[in-house]
C-alpha cells in the first residue's frame, strides 16, 4: 500500500494506491497519517480510493478509526471513488449511513465547500 497526501485549499487529500490489507501493514498506517494531519490542525480529510485494488476488513477498520478521530475533533472525513464491492460492504454494514461517500474527488471537494 502506498499513500500520498496533498492539500487542496484546507482539505487534505490522501491518494491511496495498491492493497490495504492486514498482511501488508507498514510502519505508518492510514489512521496514523490521518491522526497526524488532525494533530497538525487539518480537520478536512478526503480519502481517495481511486487506485485501491483491494481492501480487507483491516482497511475498513483503518477508515473507521480515521473517521472517529476526525469526528471527535469536529472535523470532516469524506471518501471518494470506492469500488462497487466496497460500497456493497459499506451498505451491508450500514456504514454508508455513517461515512460520507462520493463518486469522485471533485464531487467530494464540492461537498466540503458546501458544508
Amino acid at each position: 500500500m502506498k499513500i500520498n497526501s496533498r492539500k487542496q485549499n484546507d482539505i487534505i487529500i490522501f491518494d491511496i494506491e495498491g492493497e490495504i490489507r492486514r498482511s501488508d501493514i507498514s510502519d505508518v498506517t492510514l489512521h496514523q497519517l490521518v491522526k497526524d494531519q488532525l494533530d497538525s490542525g487539518n480537520k478536512k480529510i478526503l480519502l481517495n480510493f481511486d487506485k485501491v485494488e483491494f481492501i480487507d476488513s483491516f482497511g475498513v477498520g483503518e477508515i473507521l478509526a480515521s473517521y472517529i478521530s476526525t469526528h471527535n475533533l469536529g472535523g470532516q472525513l469524506k471518501i471518494a471513488k470506492i469500488s462497487q464491492k466496497l460500497y456493497l460492504v459499506f451498505q451491508v454494514t450500514m456504514l454508508t449511513k455513517v461515512l460520507d461517500i462520493h463518486d469522485n474527488e471533485e464531487i467530494a471537494l464540492t461537498a466540503f465547500l458546501e458544508q
Partner: protein, 830 residues
C-alpha cells in the same frame, strides 16, 4: 313376533341390522341342516369302518380320500364356474341325497370294503357342502358384515352338529347304525329350498354380471393357475402352510383317537352311540367355547393369541401322553380329540375366515376353494403317508405319533406368528393415502424463508439502498442467486446506488460475482463483513449512529430504524451494541418491528425472549416472532413451556407456542408439550395435539410418552360420547339444527385429534391411512380401515374407539356409546 322384537332378540346374540335378518336366518338354518347331516353320517362312518376293517387301515382311507378329493375339487371348480351358483348347489345336494340312499341299500350286503368307499364319500360330502356354505357367505356379505355375522352363522353349524350327534346317539341302538342314514335326506331337502330363496333375495344384476365375468375367467383356470395365484402371494402360501400343518395334526390325532376307540369299544351300535355322545359333548363344548370365548378372545387379545391357542393345546396334550399310563388312554383320547375339534369348530374356524378378509375378492375366491379343498386333502395325503410309513415300516406306537404332533405343533405356532404380521400388512395394502399433509407438502416444495427474503429484497429496493444491500447480501450468503432471481431483483432499478448493487448480479458492467468461483467470493464477502462488524471501532461508530437513529421520527426515521434493526442482526450475539435491539423491539412501526424481531432471532439473546413472546399476539408480526423464537432452539423451551401453561398469559400467545415447540423439534420440546396433555382442561389442547402430530410426521426419531397420549385419547373419546348423546337428545328438536351442526363439526374435529394422538404411539402412516379412509373412503375402505385399527390398536383403546367409527347407524352408535361409558371410566394405562 314382530320384526322389531325379532331384531331385539337377535341383537342379544349377534350385532345384526334389521335388513340383514332374513338372509342371516336362512344361512343359519342352512348351516344347521348341513352339519346336522354331517354329524349323523360321521359316527356311522367311523363305526362301520372300525367294524368292517380296523384302525390300522385308516391311513389308507386318509390317503384315498386325499387322492380322490383332487378330482372332486377339479369337478367342483368347473361346475361352480359353469353353472349358476344356486343351480349347482341344489344339484349337488340332490346328488348327495341319492348317494345316501344307495349307501343305505348296499350296506345291507355287508361288503367290508364298502366302509372304505363310504369313508371317502363321507369326506367328500362334508368338504363340499361346508365349502359351498362358505362360498355363499362370501357371495352374500362384504368383509365387515361377515365379521359381524360369522359368529352367528357358525353357531348355526354347531347347533346343527349337536342335533345330528344327538340323533345318532339316541337312534343308533334303536334303528341300528346303518338305518341312521335315512334321516339325512329329510334334512338336506330343505337346504335346496333355502338356496333357492337366498338366490331370489340376493339377486343383483351387477353382482351376477361381475360373477359371470369372474366365472368366465375362472373357468379357464385350473389347479396350476390356482396354485400360481397362491405361489405369487406370500400371505396365501403361509395360509396354505398353516392349513397343511393343522390338517396333518388333525389326521394324526384322529388316528390316535380311533385306535383307542377300537380297542375300548367292541360292539358296532354301542360304538356308534358312544361316538354320537362324544360328538354331542364335543359340539356342546365347542358351542360354549364359541359363544363365551371366541369373540372375547378375538376382541380382547387379538388374532395372534386366538391363533396360538390350538397349537399350544395340542403341544401340551401330546407331551402329556408321554407321561400317562395306558389305562388312561381313552380319557386322553377324548380330551385331545375333544379339545382339538372344539377349537377347530369355534375359534380356529372364525379366525381362519378372518384371515381371508384382506385378500382381493377375485383372488380370495380361487384361493379359498383351492386351499379348503385341495390343500386340505393334500395335507391329509401327507399325514396318511407319514402314518403308513410310521405304522407299517417303523411300527410306531401312539406315543411315538405324539412326537410327530409335537413337531408340527411347534411349526404351526411359528407360522401363526408369521401370518399375523402378514395379515396387518395385507390390510394396509388395501388402504391408500387420500391426501398429503399440506404443511409438509409446502415445506418440501417451497422454500418459504427464501421466498420471503426475495420479497423483502424487492420491497427494500424502493425504500432504502442499504436495506436492499443487506437483503441482497443475505441472498448471496444463502447461495440462492440463480440468474432468474438476479434478473427479477434487478428489474426496474432506477436508483443509482441500487444500480451499483445490480452490478453484483452481472447486469451493469463490472462483474463482482466471479462466475467460476462464486463460493469463494461469498465466503470472502461474508468474512470481510463479519470482521468489520467485530471491530471495536465499528461498534463505537455504529453505537453513536444507532443512538441517533432510534429517536428519529418520520418516514426517513422509520427507514433508518429498519436498517438499524437489520444490521444489528448481522452482528455477533455478544456485541455490546446488540442490546440496542431492545429499543427497536418496542418500536411502533410494524416494518421496524419485523426487522428487529428477525434480528433478535439471529442473535438469540435471552433478554429479547419476553419481548418476542409478547409479540406472538401482535397480528402483523406474530409469525415472524414465532420464527425468531424457533431460531433460539432448545435453550428457551423451558421458558416457552412456562408461558404455555400459565393461564394468565394472553390466550393468543399461548396458542402460538405449541407450533414453536414443534418447529424446534427436539425431544425436550416434545416432552414439554406432551406433559401438557396431562391437563384435563386446556385452552390450547387443539394446538398441542396438532403440534405433536406434526412432530411425529417430521421428526421420526422423536419418542412420545405413551401414557399421557393414551389418557388424552380416552378423554377425547369420552367427550365425543357425551357430544353424541347430547346430539341424540337435540335431534328431535328442529329449532336446534344449528346446534347439532356445530356438534357434528366438534365431533369431526375431536375424531381428527384422536387419530393425531394415536399416530404418536402407532405407525403414523397406518393411522393416517385409516383416518383418511374413514373420512372419505368407500364402504369397503372404511371396512379395511376399521379392520386395520382392530389389529393394531391396543385393546383398551379400540374397545372405546370403534363405537365412534364403526359403520353403523346413528342410533346404534348412540346405543353403543351409552353402553361403553362405564367401561371407558375404568380404562387405565400403566
Amino acid at each position: 313376533m314382530t320384526k322389531n322384537t325379532l331384531h331385539k332378540t337377535l341383537l342379544r346374540l349377534v350385532d345384526i341390522k334389521p335388513g340383514e335378518i332374513p338372509n342371516a336366518l336362512l344361512m343359519f338354518f342352512y348351516f344347521f341342516l348341513i352339519t346336522c347331516s354331517v354329524y349323523i353320517i360321521k359316527p356311522v362312518k367311523i363305526s362301520n369302518f372300525l367294524e368292517s376293517l380296523n384302525a390300522e387301515h385308516l391311513p389308507f382311507a386318509y390317503l384315498i380320500t386325499a387322492i380322490l378329493i383332487g378330482f372332486v375339487v377339479s369337478l367342483n371348480t368347473k361346475l361352480l364356474h359353469a353353472m349358476k351358483r344356486n343351480v349347482y348347489i341344489s344339484l349337488s345336494l340332490v346328488f348327495f341325497i341319492s348317494n345316501i340312499v344307495l349307501f343305505w341299500f348296499f350296506f345291507h350286503w355287508e361288503w367290508n370294503w364298502l366302509s372304505m368307499i363310504y369313508w371317502v364319500w363321507c369326506d367328500i360330502f362334508t368338504i363340499t357342502t361346508v365349502t359351498q356354505f362358505w362360498i355363499l357367505v362370501n357371495d352374500i356379505y362384504h368383509p365387515r358384515q361377515a365379521r359381524r355375522l360369522i359368529g352367528f352363522l357358525v353357531s348355526g353349524g354347531l347347533l346343527g352338529g349337536i342335533a345330528g350327534s344327538l340323533l345318532a346317539r339316541f337312534f343308533a341302538q334303536v334303528l341300528g347304525t346303518t338305518d341312521l342314514l335315512l334321516i339325512c335326506p329329510f334334512l338336506l331337502f330343505p337346504c335346496i329350498l333355502i338356496v333357492s330363496i337366498l338366490h331370489r333375495q340376493t339377486q343383483d344384476p351387477l353382482d351376477d354380471k361381475k360373477r359371470k365375468t369372474t366365472s368366465t375367467e375362472a373357468s379357464k383356470t385350473g389347479y396350476i393357475e390356482s396354485f400360481g395365484i397362491i405361489k405369487k402371494s406370500r400371505y396365501l402360501l403361509i395360509l396354505s402352510a398353516i392349513m397343511t400343518t393343522a390338517i396333518i395334526i388333525t389326521t394324526m390325532v384322529d388316528f390316535q383317537f380311533n385306535s383307542v376307540i377300537e380297542l375300548a369299544l367292541v360292539d358296532q351300535d354301542e360304538r356308534t352311540a358312544f361316538l354320537g355322545t362324544f360328538f354331542t359333548g364335543l359340539l356342546v363344548f365347542s358351542y360354549l367355547v364359541h359363544v363365551f370365548l371366541t369373540n372375547r378372545i378375538l376382541k380382547n387379545f387379538g388374532m395372534r393369541l386366538a391363533l396360538s391357542i390350538a397349537p399350544l393345546f395340542l403341544l401340551t396334550a401330546s407331551i402329556a401322553i408321554l407321561f400317562i399310563p395306558a389305562s388312561f388312554f381313552l380319557i386322553w383320547a377324548i380330551a385331545i380329540k375333544g379339545g382339538e375339534k372344539s377349537l377347530a369348530h369355534s375359534l380356529n374356524q372364525s379366525v381362519r375366515e378372518l384371515l381371508y378378509i384382506p385378500i382381493a375378492p377375485e383372488i380370495k375366491y380361487k384361493a379359498k376353494v383351492f386351499i379348503d379343498m385341495f390343500v386340505n386333502k393334500f395335507a391329509k395325503g401327507i399325514a396318511a403317508s407319514i402314518l403308513l410309513v410310521c405304522i407299517f415300516i417303523f411300527h410306531f406306537s401312539l406315543e411315538h405319533i405324539s412326537l410327530i404332533v409335537i413337531g408340527f405343533s411347534l411349526l404351526w405356532i411359528f407360522l401363526n406368528r408369521w401370518i399375523t404380521r402378514e395379515y396387518v400388512g395385507n390390510v394396509k395394502r388395501n388402504l391408500k393415502i387420500k391426501w398429503q399433509d399440506a404443511d409438509k407438502f409446502i415445506s418440501e416444495t417451497v422454500d418459504i424463508d427464501m421466498t420471503k427474503l426475495v420479497f423483502d429484497t424487492l420491497q427494500s429496493k424502493d425504500r432504502s439502498s442499504v436495506l436492499y444491500a443487506m437483503n441482497l447480501f443475505d441472498l448471496i450468503k444463502r447461495e440462492k442467486m440463480s440468474p432468474e432471481l438476479s434478473s427479477i431483483i434487478a428489474h426496474k432499478s432506477d436508483q443509482i446506488q441500487a444500480c451499483a448493487m445490480d452490478s453484483l448480479l452481472e447486469l451493469d458492467g463490472e462483474l463482482l460475482l466471479p462466475k467460476d468461483d462464486d463460493t469463494l467470493y461469498r465466503e470472502d464477502l461474508s468474512t470481510q463483513i463479519q470482521e468489520i462488524m467485530s471491530q471495536d471501532v465499528y461498534q463505537q461508530v455504529l453505537k453513536e449512529q444507532l443512538d441517533k437513529i432510534v429517536d428519529e421520527k418520520g418516514e426517513e426515521g422509520e427507514v433508518s430504524r429498519m436498517e438499524a434493526a437489520k444490521v444489528l442482526g448481522m452482528m455477533e450475539s455478544s456485541s455490546p451494541v446488540a442490546s440496542e435491539l431492545n429499543k427497536l423491539l418496542k418500536d411502533k412501526s410494524p416494518d421496524v418491528l419485523r426487522y428487529a424481531i428477525e434480528s433478535a432471532g439471529r442473535l438469540k439473546r435471552r433478554e429479547f425472549v419476553p419481548r418476542l413472546i409478547a409479540h406472538l399476539s401482535t397480528p402483523r408480526v406474530d409469525s415472524i416472532s414465532s420464527k425468531a423464537l424457533v431460531a433460539y432452539g432448545n435453550k428457551i423451551t423451558g421458558i416457552l413451556k412456562d408461558y404455555l401453561s400459565d393461564p394468565d398469559v394472553n390466550l393468543q400467545t399461548r396458542r402460538a407456542i405449541p407450533d414453536i415447540l414443534e418447529q424446534v423439534g427436539t425431544q425436550r420440546a416434545t416432552d414439554l408439550l406432551a406433559s401438557e396433555l396431562k391437563k384435563k382442561e386446556n385452552d390450547v389442547e387443539t394446538e398441542i395435539i396438532e403440534a405433536l402430530y406434526k412432530m411425529r410426521t417430521r421428526y421420526p426419531q422423536i419418542q412420545f410418552p405413551q401414557k399421557p397420549v393414551f389418557e388424552k385419547t380416552i378423554q377425547i373419546i369420552k367427550r365425543c360420547y357425551f357430544v353424541l348423546l347430547e346430539m341424540h337428545d337435540l335431534m328431535t328438536d328442529q329449532r336446534k339444527d344449528n346446534l347439532v351442526s356445530d356438534m357434528e363439526k366438534n365431533l369431526a374435529r375431536s375424531l381428527k385429534h384422536i387419530f393425531e394422538l394415536l399416530s404418536l404411539v402407532y405407525t403414523p402412516d397406518d393411522i393416517i391411512k385409516a383416518y383418511q379412509n374413514i373420512c372419505t373412503g368407500t364402504k369397503k375402505s372404511i371396512d379395511y380401515s376399521i379392520e386395520l385399527l382392530d389389529n393394531i390398536l391396543q385393546r383398551e383403546v379400540k374397545e372405546v374407539l370403534l363405537p365412534l367409527i364403526d359403520d353403523i347407524s346413528f342410533e346404534d352408535r348412540v346405543r353403543k356409546c351409552k353402553k361403553m361409558i362405564k367401561p371407558l371410566e375404568k380404562v387405565k394405562f400403566s
